[in-house]
Symmetry: C2
Subunit: 119 residues, 2 copies
């Protein structure tokens, strides 16, 4: 269902490793990881859902409105998250030095398509 | 102490509103906000510290190493966070449409100076 789009996002981003569509409780709908990746994108999604919930609470407390995007740059992995609707998000993990701008662009432009599939 | 650098970061970023150096418990060391801003950067920092702690825990759980940067894009505010050392971070809030790339660049290039002042 989302497989083609997730693959397009991962393969279209230099350094892209894996991508997942999940709900805010960390339950994955679908994911795609590069064949040579040993990244457990399910675990990534579960951890991210905690961060995203805390970011949403912060934005709400600050009157900053709905959270659209989140990016976490760590030593060994960069993760981009984009909210699809009130309950779902899509995440993309990149290796260090990956093309973050391209990843953000692909998530942003593919989000409406993913959101419409969520109904 | 940090005032000049914080001001430089805010004024040097198109759409920059306020900046703060805080510890991970949300206690501010110093902040600067544009005179016409009604943003309470102290409250922003406190909320961010919660998000940053959760991002650090996630990165640790995933074996992704130390968290260097965090970005939260919400409807009415974008906030960039950069880790300075194990205990302190610097944050910059921008109005929607602000120059996120420039803000990230300024935080990254000024971080060593801020970190060295922390001792």
């Amino acid at each position: 269902m989302f497989q083609g789009t997730l693959r397009e996002v991962v393969d279209g981003t230099e350094g892209g490793v894996a991508s997942v569509v999940m709900d805010l409780d960390g339950i994955a709908l679908e994911s795609y990881a590069k064949p040579d990746s040993d990244l457990d994108i399910m675990t990534v999604g579960i951890e991210l859902s905690v961060v995203l919930r805390s970011a949403r609470q912060a934005a709400e407390a600050l009157g900053a409105g709905a959270t659209q995007e989140l990016a976490i740059v760590a030593d060994k992995m960069t993760t981009l998250v984009r909210q699809l609707n009130a309950n779902y998000f899509v995440a993309l993990s990149l290796a260090p030095g990956g093309n973050v701008g391209k990843g953000r662009y692909l998530l942003r432009t593919r989000a409406p398509e993913l959101a419409s599939e969520l109904g």
